[in-house]
Every structure is written in C-alpha cells, then in structure tokens.
C-alpha cells in the first residue's frame, strides 16, 4: 500500500470516552471507523468496496524491481502467504477499532493464539493462565506447548495473588480471557497489566466475548488482545478468523513467523470479515441489548437457578465490568433449577429459534449445554474443577427481536418442567 493512500481515519488512540453518541467530533465515532478505517479513500478502478484479490503470487516488472524490493524493504506484496492487500485493509480496520498500532490476522482464533505463543516462547519458558478459558487454548498449552518444554501454570480466575506467586524468572506471558467463557468472569485489566509490568512479563487478553466495542484492553495497559474474529467481528456465522492486536514493536516478529507457518486467512473470508465489520457497532448494540434482556428475563424465571451475566448487578464481577465495559455482549450462561443433565438437554432441545450449535457472536442465536458440547469426554471431577455443572446452558444471543428470543426460552423452560 503506497503511503499516500494510507488512510488517516482511526488514529492509534481514539478517545474512548468520546466514542459514544453525543461525543465531540475530535475523533471519528466507532461506526465511522468500522465503515471507513483501514481503507484507501480512492480504490482500484474507483470501486467503492475493496476488490477480492485472489492472487497467490505478485509480479515484479524486472530483476531490478526485486532487488529494490529486498534492499529498500518496500511495502509491497510478494507471495500470498506473506500477506494480501485485502488482509492489510482488515488488519488496519481492526487495529483502529481496538486502538492498537498493528493487527495480525489468522485463519482462526486458535491459529492466532498459537501464532503468538510460538513467536514469543522458547524451551524452558513459562506462562501463567487464569483457569476459566476456552478448552482448546488450555489443551494446546498443556498437551502441545509442553512437548517443546514450555511450562503452563493455571491459577484460579481472578486470584491475582496466585497469579503473581506463579511468576518465576522464566515466565514470559500472563494470559486470560475477559469476559471468560462460559462463566463471564471479568478481569481487572489494570491490575492484571500492572502485575505484568512490575514483573516484566507480557500480558495477553482474549477479548472475543467483549469485542473492542465493549472493552479495549490495550487502553488498560495490556500488551496483546486476541479475538476469534469468527464471532462478533465477522458476525454472520459464515467465516473463521482470528486476530492479535498490539504494538508494532511487539508484533513485527509475530507477523514474520505467520509468513513462515502460514496460518493465513483466505481472500474470500477476509472480504466477508470486512463486510461484517461495516455493521459492527449496530450489531453489537443489538447483541448487548438482547443479552441483557434475556439475562434479566432468566434471572426472574422460576425454573432458573442461576444466571451468569456481567450486566446483572448480582454478578460477582459486575463492578469490574461496569467500570470498563460499554455493554456486556450476547453470551448468557444459566443453570436450570433442579434439573439433571437430561432435563437440561430437554430445554436445549425445546427451543425453536435458538439453534443447537457451538460458536457465538453471529446474527443467529445459538444454544448449547457445555457438558455435552465441550466437556463430554472430561471426567466429572474435571468438569467440577472447571465449573461446568450438568444443568448449565450457554446462550449466544443473536440480533433477532428480543421478545421472540424470550418467548422461545420461556416456552422451552416451561415445557421441560
């Protein structure tokens, strides 16, 4: 991308407090960033949208142009695995939304975390995790990173003293989700970042469930933000993608390693992601509203034992969430009262609008029972340790009409009683 077409929209540190409606016009609003940031104002063939460039390779005019490219480190394309023009647009757009300098896009959320950890860790290094996390992230660290001599420590989510105590001279990274999946625990990001800074350890927050609309971890001093862009960022349940956002200084090596390992995204997917981002603010507003409405409904329902949603005032992390989040997203977890696993499954099976599927963050509402969907092969002891009771249901509220969603859940809960 020639420098003169690099857009100025979406500075690296948009004023978050001004980003709500009624803000001053000093920096563009989140909608304006979502629609325009990262894109050249004038595009190839004067097209209003970015073209999908499927090329696996890029041509040079002559030998000298290759030599110039190498010697001058020219910012141009070379080969598809090292980058794609459409990918760079989306990376700039995501960085602008997150208020970060640089984004590195991957073929999936797992490819993103693997890409970062592979770039940052060496044999003998250690990482410390808060234990409520996506089970595949945990599995990668415990079963695979361990084979390369990396040691993973897990401490109880929210126990900052235990996290600090687990840090040793070889500890390189502190990792947590916020909010966590499926318990929706929220991390005190300043405290988390402060531990990292004091002990000279980098920090990573998987903010997939929050998105940059609701939470901006970099502004709280976190080093890296991870998203499964499959979820709210893509938003339509029709693509897979992952992204790491942070400073250029820290991510240059990560980008280089991606070019070697090759977990890049495809040009078609990237276009759908860019298209999805155009309605990002609109969708998130609706996900937030539906999540809260559904959580409040469930909290007052006699067949519900407990609701996990940070927007509810009795959620243990409500105060932390309120201080840092604009909204609380579409994920709602709850326990069915006096129900065994089968009776709980009946509630899942009884919904008509909610579709039974893993994943979240798309326009369609999804429902799942974590016991069956993600923890089926785990021992009861492990499920207990990870806080996954048999009567737990996880909802990913889409952007349908909230009254329809509530009526659907009400019917399913009544029918299963």
């Amino acid at each position: 991308m020639p420098a003169d077409t690099t857009p100025s929209l979406g500075s690296s540190s948009p004023d978050r407090t001004a980003a709500s409606r009624g803000r001053s016009t000093a920096s563009p609003g989140p909608s304006t960033i979502a629609v325009h940031a990262g894109e050249a104002r004038q595009k190839f063939a004067d097209s209003i949208t970015d073209p999908i460039i499927c090329a696996s390779t890029y041509t040079f005019t002559n030998t000298q142009s290759i030599i110039d490219f190498i010697e001058q480190e020219q910012p141009r394309e070379e080969y598809g695995r090292y980058g794609n023009p459409g990918e760079k647009v989306v990376e700039r757009k995501l960085a602008a939304l997150e208020g970060g300098e640089m984004a590195v896009l991957y073929s999936s959320g797992m490819a993103a975390i693997v890409g970062l950890l592979m770039a940052k860790l060496n044999q003998g290094d250690e990482i410390v995790f808060f234990d409520e996390c996506y089970h595949r992230s945990r599995e990668f660290c415990l079963k695979h990173l361990s084979r390369f001599g990396v040691v993973t420590h897990q401490v109880r989510t929210g126990d900052y003293d235990a996290m600090e105590a687990a840090i040793g001279p070889k500890t390189r990274m502190l990792v947590s989700e916020s909010p966590t999946n499926p318990h929706l625990s929220c991390i005190d990001l300043e405290r988390f970042a402060d531990i990292g800074k004091r002990r000279n350890v980098e920090t990573l927050i998987d903010a997939t469930l929050a998105t940059p609309y609701n939470l901006r971890p970099l502004e709280h001093g976190i080093d890296y933000v991870l998203h499964s862009a499959t979820k709210y960022l893509g938003g339509h349940n029709d693509l897979l993608a992952g992204v790491i956002i942070g400073s250029k200084e820290k991510l240059d090596a990560v980008m280089k390693l991606r070019g070697i390992l090759g977990a890049i995204n495809s040009p078609h997917n990237i276009y759908l992601l860019e298209r999805g981002l155009k309605t990002f603010e609109l969708r998130m507003d609706r996900h937030n509203a539906n999540g809260l409405a559904v959580a409040e409904f469930l909290a007052s329902h006699p067949a519900v034992e407990k609701v996990y949603y940070p927007g509810l005032s009795d959620h243990p992390y409500h105060e932390v969430a309120r201080a840092t989040m604009r909204g609380y997203g579409g994920l709602v977890t709850f326990l069915v009262k006096d129900a065994d696993w089968r009776q709980t499954a009946n509630v899942v099976d009884g919904t008509e609008i909610f579709r039974i599927a893993p994943s979240l963050g798309g326009v369609e509402s999804l429902i799942e029972q974590p016991l069956v969907m993600s923890y089926y092969k785990q021992t009861p002891e492990d499920r207990k340790r990870f806080g996954i009771p048999d009567n737990m249901i996880r909802l990913a509220c889409g952007i349908e009409n909230s009254e329809d969603l509530i009526a659907d859940l009400d019917r399913a809960l009544e029918a299963a009683r």
Binding site: R21, R23, S24, T25, P28, G29, P30, S31, T32, V35, H36, I48, T49, H236, N237, D238, L272, R275, K278, T279, E281, L282, R283, R286, I353, R355, A357, G362, V363, E364, L366, G398, I399, E400, N401, E403, D404, L405
Partner: protein, 386 residues
C-alpha cells in the same frame, strides 16, 4: 415472529446434510434428475436455484407474500432487469402510466425501450391521486409508482393509487427501493407488484447488483416467472448469498439509516447555505402526513437539497465532501453524494428534468451508517467551502 427474527431465520434453514447454520452456496448450473421426465425441485439454474430461492423466500416473507400461498419473490440480475420483466407483461397498444419522480433508468426504459414495442408511456404527478385518475384510459394496463420518489423524495399515497388503478383494471406496481419492507409493505396496501433494486438497502454494502419482484397472487407470479425463465435475467448464487447475508441486518441498518438521515435533514433545513430540503421526515414536506401513515417508524435515508448556487458551484459542492463519496447508487453503509442533473437522472430529457423539478443545483444524499456528527461536520465544511 417479528420482522427482524424472520429476516434472520425464514429462508435460512440450516443445511440438512451437514447442519451448517448458514445454507451452502449452490453454484451448480444444472441438477441431476432421477429419470427422464422425472423432475426434481431444481433442474437448471435459470429456472431455479436453491441459493436464489432462499433469498427469495426471505424477501417474500418480509414483504408479506409466500411461496406456499402461490405468490413469492423473483430475484433478477439488476433492478432494471426486474422492472423490464414487469413491462414485458404488456403488449403493443397498451399504455403505462408512471410517476414523474422516478429513477432515471426507469424513465429511460419506459421512454426509449418500451416505446419501441408500441407501448405508450405517460408520466403524471402521482402525489395527487386525482391527477393519476385523470390520466388513466382503457388502454392503461400498468400503473408504476415510486415512493419515496427519486430524486425529489415525493410521497405517493400507494393505497389510494392502487384503488384508482384497480378501478380501471390496471395492474399497479411500485419501486419500493427507498422504503424497503422495513418501512413500507405495499402488498399489504393493496398493490400487485413490489419491485426493489436489491443493490441498495437489501444488499446494503455496495457490493451486489440485483433486482427483485414480489407478488402475492399466484396467477401474476406465474406470469412473471414465465417471463423471467424465458428471458433469463436471473441473479447469480454468490449475489443471492450476499443478499441473504444483508437481509439479516436489514432492519438494524434501515432503522439506524433513518435515525441519522432525520438528524441530517434537520441540520440541512436550518443551514444558511441551503435553500430547500426534500425529506419526508420534515413536517413541512408536502407528503409528510401520508409518509407517517405509510412508512413504519422512519422516513428512509435519502435526502435531496438545493444549495445557493448554479450547476458549476453544485459540481464543486458534491466533489468537496470527505466522508460522503461522489458516486451514484445508494442504500449502503457508506454515505454517498451526487448531482442528479449530471449523474442519476442524466438520462431524463433536459426538458423533462426541468418540467419535473430536477434542477441543476439539486444535490442527492444517500446517508450511510457512519457517525452522524462526522457526517454533519463533513457536509458543513463542504457547504461552506463550495
């Protein structure tokens, strides 16, 4: 189920083979049959395609029609292909009476293509149903409306005009592109045919060309389907997929478009450089009362206005915005600006432009989904610098 829920779920059944929550894109041009003369649901993609049918099913439902009841929607390669299909229902000697505030491409089709088939065309100001009534003859077979109109945002009372047309035995259709089914559902108002340039709000992202017709009556649907299948201007599967994807956020987008446009129209109405604003959401717009009745909770996101200036100055104005891009088309996330006299309505004869009030200093806005403060700031600097 409510509109938004139907927009997401109707016509979007998970794939029965794989469970995929988003139906697959069927690129097949042809479909394998069980035996000679034993036709399955699909045979050849011009005659029908599962991805196209999904989009048509959703759109039909949102407009209040359904395939189960004999009606349905038909997806075309462009909005013009959709209107052309309607005009092909007519024969030499028939007459079309159309509104005078219509898209320039529709004007061109009626005056420069249909006329060659011996079909007469008359334009009338349909904002006054009495004028429509006076224009109808026994030869009138089709009344073609557009509300809000393009580019003057005139409002036509669709129900009143349908009653008048039906009394004379004419079919009545409307280009509902500016309204979308979120705001207006013409079939519920008694019209026979709803047409959309799905390029606009239905797709919503400036990346699909398409047109659609929606009808309730089986006999009419069958005739339109016959023309579509026989002439072949069908929509491709990739576009249908992107349209289905667009429909899922249609209500969210249109409501937000309306909210922003209302604020911008109010801003322009008091701007010292602006002499006239056409927006049905402004109380002094002559069609405001009809629009309030006919449009559900919003007035669309198209605005036209006149600034104090001549053709040259207006040209400078439309080229000096930084967020609004200078381009024809409308209905997408990106805000666009244009000068109808030289762009969207250049295909009108100059005399007809003058007659129907499309002045050289008219500017048309398609308000996108950016932050409203950013858009107002952009217009303000453009108006002041031009």
């Amino acid at each position: 189920m409510k509109f938004r829920t139907r927009a997401i779920h109707v016509g979007s059944e998970p794939d029965p083979l794989t469970g995929a929550v988003v139906p697959p894109i069927h690129f097949a041009s042809t479909f394998v049959q069980k035996g000679a003369g034993e036709w399955g649901a699909y045979d050849y993609s011009r005659s029908g395609n599962p991805t196209r049918r999904n989009f048509e099913t959703t759109l039909a439902d949102l407009e209040g029609a359904s395939f189960e009841q004999g009606g349905g929607a038909l997806a075309f390669a462009s909005g013009m292909a959709a209107i052309h299909c309607v005009t092909m229902l007519l024969s030499a000697g028939d007459e079309i009476v159309a509104g005078s505030d219509i898209y320039g491409g529709a004007y061109r089709l009626l005056h420069k293509i249909c006329n060659r088939s011996g079909i007469a065309v008359k334009l009338v100001d349909t904002t006054d149903p009495a004028k429509l009534e006076a224009a109808l003859t026994d030869r009138t077979k089709l009344v073609w409306l557009e509300s809000p109109g393009n580019p003057l945002l005139s409002i036509t009372d669709l129900a009143a005009c349908a009653e008048i047309a039906h009394a004379r035995g004419a079919l009545v259709g409307t280009d509902s592109t500016f309204a979308t089914p979120v705001l207006t559902r013409p079939l519920e108002l008694g019209l026979d045919i709803v047409m959309h340039s799905s390029t606009k709000y239905l797709g919503g992202h400036s990346d699909v060309l398409g047109g659609a017709l929606v009808v309730k009556q089986k006999e009419l649907f069958d005739r339109l389907y016959f023309v579509q299948n026989a002439t072949g201007a069908v929509q491709g599967p990739m576009e249908c997929f992107l349209l289905s994807r667009g429909l899922k956020t249609l209500e969210l987008r249109v409501r937000e478009h309306c909210r922003i446009a209302q604020e911008i129209a109010e801003f322009l109405a008091v701007h010292p450089r602006v002499t006239k604003v056409n927006y049905p959401g402004l109380p002094r717009h002559p069609g405001h009362e009809v629009a309030r009745r006919q449009m559900d909770g919003g007035f669309g996101a198209m605005i036209s206005f006149e600034a104090d200036g001549d053709l040259a100055r207006t040209k400078r104005l439309v080229a000096s915005t930084k967020l609004f891009a200078l381009a024809v088309s409308l209905g997408a996330v990106e805000s666009l600006i244009e000068q109808p006299a030289t762009m969207s309505h250049a295909s009108y004869d100059p005399a007809d432009r003058k007659k129907h009030g499309i002045s050289d200093s008219l500017v048309r806005l398609s308000v996108g989904l950016e932050d409203v403060d950013d858009l107002k700031e952009d217009l303000d600097q453009a108006l002041r610098s031009a």
